[in-house]
Amino acid sequence: MLIRRPDDIPFSDITPETVYQNRRAFVGTAGALALGGLIAPSALQAMRFDRGTQDDKVTSEEDATSYNNYYEFGTGKEEPKELAKDFRPMPWTVNVEGLVKKPRPYSFDELVGKLPVQDRVYRHRCVEAWSMVIPWQGVQLKDVVARCEPLPSAKFVEFTTLYDPRRMPGQARAVLPWPYKEALRLDEANHPLALLATGMYGKALPNQNGAPLKLVVPWKYGFKGIKAIVKIKFTDKMPNTTWNDANSSEYGFYGNVNPLVDHPRWSQAKERRIGQFLKIPTLPFNGYASQVASLYSGMDLRKYY
């Protein structure tokens, strides 16, 4: 596994004005800082935080199931757990469409049943610069792709989330252009790390985490991991994806974790591992570069973010 620390910000980037401005702010807050700096970190660490470490300790199940970005069930982090608690994922049907031998609806079991179940502990890096370590259960996406029998002309695979505002109350507001869509290049989808999760922490996938079927692509930002998938469509053109449609300068099609390409509004160089106090460096491709970097050889990752 490649572990490379991103370069520090060159000191030449910091102008005297900023230092000066900072210093004023520092003087202004000296009292609070002295107090906070002495007490808070040690207190926080004593309470719930480890220091920031790169040892990839599994995130607590409580945190991973109560801090969710799932706008279909509200834009607050704690809302999905509450608003999704009555959601009934079964029975579930997935429509397989587009460039496949035989487009048709698949029941949940037809799509993922009898495939070898995988146990995968993956780092999960949100585009918002926090991260978790989550034990997933599921099937390799490439096995599902094979089951769908795509035609040789298929180059991309597009996923769509359920659209049903009665069951997904967050969809009553047009916060995002519903339904949520995500997509991968077919070679990305066929990578052995790509997973269709059906469970986590050894249990059925909780509603707030995308039950019954969630995409997990650990080298990409979390928004690529589309939840409650009801449609899988194979195409020969790069599909539109929801966050890219909503704000293309902030969220690209690829969404590969990259500490060197900042989000326009925040740095991606570091991340806060949930449950840890100090931020840790973000790794290229979320630490999976040795496995996946070759998918993007020759591509300008600043352009294709």
Partner: protein, 217 residues
Amino acid sequence: MIARAESPIRHLIRPALWLLVIVPAIVLAAQLLLDQLGAEPIEALEHASGKWTLRFLAASLAITPLMRFTGWGWMLAQRRFLGLAAFFWAMGHLSVYIVLDQFFDWPAIAEDILKRIYITLGMLAFVLLIPLALTSTKSSIRKLGGKRWNQLHRLVYVSAIAGCIHFLWAVKKDLTEPMLYASVFVVLFALRFLFRKPRSRKPKSVPPDASVSLPAA
């Protein structure tokens, strides 16, 4: 009627405001200690302290229009108190960012302030409050004179606008809450404009209150 109603309010207002400043801080501290702030307590503290800053800023800006409506001159004494409360919450907000969020990573903080406009605006909003907090003493008012003091303290408008944009810009997609805050300030500014005092040659606008005992600033 009003004269009778105002006297109990008048005596209770300061302790009530003190409670309003202190209680949320105590509640947040207790929630933090009891691990009740969710999976990301640092973000929760950041958001809560930022919103309390805006709330107290709005409250301080509500005093002048409220006085013009009610004629309760004694309300003026609460304006600087609320302004200072906003400043202290802003210090808390900035401290959470510097200490807990960034943990004194000065290069990262400098980069944030330089490159992320919403943080630039947040810093601006805070920095503009510093001279206002420093001149919040009675002696400063005397030294500056009421007119110049009032002029200086108009910086609060710039700070409030910067603070609102800071909030709007920080949000990923759902603008409901920052829009709500911004619209409160829009209403407060509109009230000031609609109910401004008629222009006259004599000393105008609300005089700074020199009658109040202040919390140390």
